[in-house]
Symmetry: C2
């Protein structure tokens, strides 16, 4: 694979206030860089979309340094090595990890989260950003190590059609959960999670009273809640947890991540009075166990226990316009931008 003639880039033009907009980014073309000793040059093939990209745009950035104005927008991506000056990578290697919205990125093997070389596999290359990427591995470690889902559990999952949520239902059923309940927006999505994503039941937060539906569906309370949205829904779930229930804080999408300071849950004293466990998850902390997680997910896919849903959009030019749809609504499953094919 050869380097392109120019390096197209989507640059952060200004720090968004409130909801992120396509106009917060600026298109430019730059020379293709040459790798220095210890660096590799990677041609990007797919960009993955994650709600946490909005966090990377806030001033204090949360858990990573924020993307600076004038820098290409950070993304999880799949690429192919086109030139290597690091013995850990060879030209032609397919790799996954932190990249940015450009045709070509430079990377190093000695960073905290180096690009991982992808195994040869029968499944689509893009799955390495979805079920075998951040989304799927977060669903896996969040359900197993975080929530410790076990046979007989009643589990609730918010943002259940998201890249992570669409896998949590099947994972929890594979772990023996008795009932897995999705919270999703709209009748179509509520139908989809049951018909395609392995959920037993769904609550439409746009048209139903979540608390009332929880009373009907799980009068004994919720054993485990996989929280992707925070806000009002977290507050409602706190009132419906079974004694000694477990909550996983995976995201707070309802906030839009416009600030790292959020409205905290008003009912948080339920943590005390019902002796709940609230656990966070950040995949960084599982970096030594990612292969173990991917192997188990692959077994469940082979056994037909997990359904993989992707929504792939074509063309580098569309990179910025897809980001706001993470918060305003999109198709079920993992959202990806296809930029180029491997050589």
């Amino acid at each position: 694979m050869n380097a392109p003639a120019v390096n197209r880039q989507w640059i952060l033009a200004r720090r968004p206030e409130g909801a992120v907009r396509p106009s917060d980014f600026r298109y430019q073309e730059a020379p293709v860089p040459a790798p220095a000793e210890g660096e590799v040059l990677v041609r990007t093939l797919y960009f993955g979309y994650d709600a946490s990209q909005r966090i990377w745009l806030t001033e204090d950035g949360g858990y990573m340094p924020p993307v600076q104005i004038g820098e290409p927008m950070r993304t999880m991506g799949i690429g192919q090595v086109i030139a290597s000056r690091d013995s850990a990578y060879a030209a032609g290697d397919l790799v996954e990890g932190f990249m940015s919205w450009q045709d070509c990125v430079l990377a190093r093997a000695d960073g905290p989260m180096p690009l991982r070389v992808l195994p040869k596999a029968q499944y689509p290359l893009s799955w390495n950003l979805g079920i075998f990427g951040v989304s799927g591995l977060t669903a896996y470690f969040g359900s197993t190590d975080g929530l410790k889902v076990k046979p007989g559990d009643v589990v609730v999952v918010s943002a259940a059609t998201g890249a992570t949520g669409s896998l949590v239902g099947g994972i929890c059923k594979a772990l023996g959960a008795k009932t897995v309940i999705a919270v999703a927006g709209g009748a179509d999505k509520c139908r989809w999670v049951i018909e395609s994503a392995g959920y037993d039941a769904a609550i439409d937060y746009k048209s139903e009273d979540i608390g009332q539906r929880l009373d009907e569906l799980c009068p004994q309370g919720v054993d485990a809640y996989f929280d992707n949205v925070g806000g009002h829904m977290l507050d409602t779930l706190l009132l419906h947890m079974a004694p000694r229930g477990r909550i996983l804080i995976c995201g707070a999408m309802s906030s839009g991540y416009t600030d790292v300071k959020l409205k905290g849950p008003s009912n948080y004293m339920r943590i005390c009075t019902h002796m709940l466990t609230v656990q966070g998850i950040l995949l960084f902390f599982y970096r030594d166990r990612l292969a173990e997680g991917a192997a188990q997910l692959a077994r469940w896919v082979a056994e037909g226990l997990l359904h993989v849903e992707q929504h792939v959009v074509e063309g580098f030019q569309r990179a910025p316009e897809l980001l706001p749809t993470m918060f305003t609504g999109k198709s079920p499953g993992k959202l990806l931008l296809h930029v180029a094919d491997p050589a």
Copy 2:
């Protein structure tokens, strides 16, 4: 021991709004009741003061049914059985558990939290409400099972002069914690926790910037935070937790417990980004392990590792006036009202 001629009572006269006041209670005298089959009549000897008594006065009561208007105020207490129609208790037994502000209370052995018969012991009877009661056992199970304090940990404890907090420092040192830091109000209390309660350092929340002091005292972050106060302090601690740190939600005294809905922690997404574990504690869930906890606490007292501090006030008539001092400030250690002596 004979029953008194009349049964003095402090009755809930009206549900407090905001801070609880002595005038929310009304004194009255009633006949001494006779136990029915399966009941025991208990003469009260000590009343313990707990911040959670304020929760029992809120309409939806939190984790127990609220005290109703016209009922004697609920309290943890020590008493002596003066008449028994239940084979589990004999006249003369000293007992501890849920009682109310009266000279004589009726109790049953078949409730969810029956009175426990106290062992003959060398230590003061009143310790059964402090170190060997709710306060000490919450400190023990909160530090061990909840926070999982281990050798080398940096631990922070709020309300560190309280009945529970004044024991957590010594317990965590006994468990091998490297540094145990108290948060307390005023120079006298900050001196007391270090000189008497086994703490290594103290932060005066009334005159010092908690965040700045935490940066100085534990630049690597806090491994375990025993939270008795919630509010602003919990929000500050969230910003100073080490990755994978643990927080115990034991109380939210800063709220005054005037409502079970509180201002939740704005920085709660740190739970996600630092992969924290937030655990609640309610002693009810340890009802099968209380003897184990008390035995370990007794060993540490015998080894000189724990200091027991009590503040005992005399006289039934003073029951209501002590309750507000739980929130407005009181002496270090366990606050008790002495009502009568055993026969």
